[in-house]
Symmetry: none
Amino acid sequence: MLTAKQHELLLFINQRLDESGISPSFEEMKEALDLKSKSGVHRLIGALEERGFIRRLANRARALEVMKMPEGGNVGGNNVARFAPVKETKPQIQIPVAANDVMEIPLHGKIAAGVPIEALEGQNSLSVPMALLGAGEHYALEVSGDSMIEAGILDGDYALIRKANTARDGEIVVALVRGEEATLKYLRREGQQIRLDPANGSYEPQYYAPHEVEVQGKLAGLLRRYH
Amino acid sequence: MLTAKQHELLLFINQRLDESGISPSFEEMKEALDLKSKSGVHRLIGALEERGFIRRLANRARALEVMKMPEGGNVGGNNVARFAPVKETKPQIQIPVAANDVMEIPLHGKIAAGVPIEALEGQNSLSVPMALLGAGEHYALEVSGDSMIEAGILDGDYALIRKANTARDGEIVVALVRGEEATLKYLRREGQQIRLDPANGSYEPQYYAPHEVEVQGKLAGLLRRYH
DNA sequence: CCACTTTTGTTCTCTAATCGTTCCATTCAT
DNA sequence: ATGAATGGAACGATTAGAGAACAAAAGTGG
């Protein structure tokens, strides 16, 4: 799927994102790849984007995001005992269903209950207006608990998650902690540590080493139903 | 399903992808299959593609992707015991849920800004899965302000409103006050008065005479988008 | 809030090497 | 022979690297 250069760049971006949470600038990527011009980086970025490995905000500085990693490349930056065979790779194309601007996305179960998401992949799915999602592969989780209540995310809401391996500081992510517990939290980095912040005064922030936390996606939308 | 050569090539591609994450070039595949021309590889690739075993980006270098492996061939190369022998990772259309239907509901503008809703009926509309709505006529409003923040309704959210003239105590309604100001509030009755409760400690409940308040609908759902 | 500077991303042009595509001749096995 | 598989080579497209000028965003100081 990738050329050597593309692969090299992707690895570098992923590493930097993993370590510092800040995407490298074109200049830095240029240096990392030992190039003397940024234009090459630009083309490589374009190729990676075309292939769905990264996403970016147009005309924004340091706004890269790794969506997936190729086989063989280690995702978590370093050798984590990644218990789950992270089968995440092969992208299943999301096909817009009959109705014009609505998409069916899989509903993977509840989150915050300490269960790895992969475990409970069901057949359920949810129709979501495309306006709520961007590009990329998405899935939905039913929110359980009140740990994000101050972010306006209530028990029973449906969180729409875009698959991603990385996130920037302050984003709300689905984080798999030590391969066992998946939670929805604010992601922040403090020095060499990863901090998972709930949005509820009654709960404490939690600190982890980078290799203990795997980002499985970031919050892209929210659905709530009143009765 | 596959000829010997096709099978051999598929195995090779998968192996390389697994080991390095970089797809082999035609030249490399030629070598691997011990051919003396790339044209043969070209045909084999075409055959594999036709049968859905691989996918590729047209006219792109090293842009192969393995979709599935024939029975017997292990997909995951080395590291992990890839649990599912990946029988089909193809397009995989998602299964529609119960009420798959979608509704286009009009987007009437913002609420909470002191403007009667009717005034700004625009052309905009929003596609919403019917599962989120019940029966009845609906419309959407963009929430402006933070007066309902403690109810998990944030600035910029889209409120899905079901048209109604009445509501029960404690429901969140769109209330038109004295014919001029439309707001989203909890509705409560206290004796002969109507009480509109914000969900924000910084705001005070407001009391009105019944004839001053017209219920224009009740909150039926909520959509939020993260960027 | 504005003007100014720095950082960062975008685009274009050239050059070269790699890569994919195609067509046609040749070989091989029935 | 005849159809299928293979070989060969020319061709065009993509990938890559460099350099520079430009435009847009972010940061700074008044």
